[in-house]
Amino acid sequence: MSSGEAAAPGSGRDGLAHVVLWAGIAITAFPLYVALVASSLTPQAIAQAPMSLLPGPELYANYRDVLVKGLSGSYLSPPVWRMLWNSLVMAVTITAGKISISILSAYAIVFFRFPGRMLCFWLIFLTLMLPVEVRILPTYEVVTKLGLINTMTGLTIPLIASATGTLLFRQFFLTIPDELVEAARIDGAGPLRFFKDVVVPLSATNIAALAVILFIYGWNQYLWPLLITTDNRLDTIVVGIKKMIGTGDAATDWNLVMATTVLAVLPPALVVVLMRRWFVKGLVDSEK
């Protein structure tokens, strides 16, 4: 049903498509719009149901309050800038860590022959079958034994192993022409030199695409930080929002919670919109 109508543009059929698409965008955007509006209102204006759907005057004050002071009440939150910082450190560490260790292991598996090579590959592959959700308690115990509870290391290092990156790089490395490897060997370049001067530069687009997906993955982590941290100072913004709403009753300062929510959505949303091409490539590649 795509370009069959191309011969008759503006025949009215496109009109219907635009109407459907606008409806779709309205449903997609409405929850975000409501959050944005609520973040510009006073708590009283929100409590007075139904709240206005037009922006109010408190936008600056609300964002300043959450960023600098955080929330008070049953959950003494750190200031939201601190949560944003924690989320950023976590997302960047996971992204850089996953890419580094998976590109190295894929390089070993594709460009060398050694005893146990297939075993290593399968061990890495099998991690796909062991997401955090199926090993919650024992993983918690391991992290405790290693003294990594309530540390940024405990928050990030266990998450940087995964099969997806290794599989992706392996797939790509298999397409690097043999001639390149032979030429490098004739020139006397060792494997590390070849990795640095040829493989990494050739992988640049793959790395960028994977980085976009992994940044979003790292930023949006929830179960893991919930498990590993009890110290509020280490709260990421996603976990912080959950703690802010508590049981979700009306006593919540919804204007401040919604300001925090908008701040939590902004960085990953900007990454998706601004790096759209890499994002789509990363999405498609990482599912192969």
Partner: protein
């Protein structure tokens, strides 16, 4: 598939693999093995010795009506999320594929929810449907519905399904759009010349050609609904009211972390492991086929 040209070093590859293998063994296989091991043990009543009990933990688990309820609930929750996230995505992708102007702008607007954490998506919907202050809850009440997801299990279930599906439409949309754009236009033109109506063309030509994409998205969607919706449920309902929105993953978390029921939690982990293994095998078998026949 193997490379012909390789490097001769024997020790170096182990060094390159060391970081990945170390993390994998310590944080994946050790705890994974622990979960398997704990699932066949039982702690005696005084919290002392561990006894081997074979498959007793599993027998108790499946004999427990509460667990069977959770299995069914997870099944219909997941199916609802998958269907609600796929049908609108297909419709929107088909519409973007046919418009001549603005396709890029529509796509950008549509994919933003992919970037939103499940827990945050949950909070956005919780706010709109909060019975005392929510904008949409207000209208539901104005229509005479006694809307209260904090007390009514069906309302709570509806809320977590909608929030979970809303977030996942973006992903399905992108894959459906890519699938639609890969269909040769000549095929559709030929059908149009033969006089097939647009809707008929869609069901007889486009939809069958999209079936690999649809199947793939079905599997990925099930994985999402089983595992990643933990954030939505934790943020919106915490499994409640009572256990109305408790899924398999939420229960394993609750029983392990809050109720500290180790044997049962380990057995539940193993059940989840089997589900992941089954879904992963299906996914990889399918991908292989797509590579071979396309």
């Amino acid at each position: 598939m193997e490379r012909k040209a390789i490097f001769p070093q024997r020790g170096l590859p182990y060094l390159l693999l060391a970081p990945q293998l170390a993390i994998t063994l310590v944080f994946f296989f050790w705890p994974g093995g622990q979960a398997l091991y704990m699932s066949v043990l039982e702690q005696d009543a005084f919290g002392g010795t561990l006894n081997f009990v074979g498959l007793d933990n599993f027998r108790h688990l499946f004999a427990d009506p509460a667990y069977r309820d959770v299995l069914w609930r997870t099944a219909y929750f997941s199916i609802a999320v998958v269907v609600l996230a796929m049908a609108p995505a297909l419709l929107l992708a088909a519409m973007v594929d046919r418009v001549l102007k603005g396709a890029t702008a529509y796509t950008v607007a549509m994919v933003v929810p992919y970037a939103i954490a499940p827990a945050v998506a949950g909070v956005l919907w919780l706010f709109m449907f909060n019975p005392s202050i929510g904008v949409l809850a207000f209208w539901l009440k104005a229509l005479g519905l006694d809307w209260n997801p904090a007390l009514n299990g069906n309302h709570a279930m509806l809320l977590v399904i909608m929030a979970s599906a809303w977030k996942e439409v973006a992903y399905n949309f992108l894959f459906f759009l890519a699938g639609l754009q890969a269909i040769p236009k000549s095929l559709l033109e030929a059908a149009a010349i033969d006089g097939a109506e647009p809707l008929r063309r869609f069901w007889t030509i486009v939809f069958p050609l999209l079936s690999p994409t649809t199947f793939f998205l079905l599997v990925v969607g099930l994985v999402y609904a089983f595992f990643d919706t933990f954030g939505v449920i934790s943020a919106v309902t915490e499994g409640g009211p009572a256990t109305a929105t408790e899924t398999l993953v939420y229960k394993v978390y609750y029983d392990g972390v809050h109720a500290l029921d180790l044997g049962s939690s380990a057995a539940q982990s193993v059940v989840l492991m089997l589900i992941v293994i089954a879904l992963t095998i299906v996914q990889f078998r399918f991908v292989e086929r797509r590579v071979h026949y396309s």
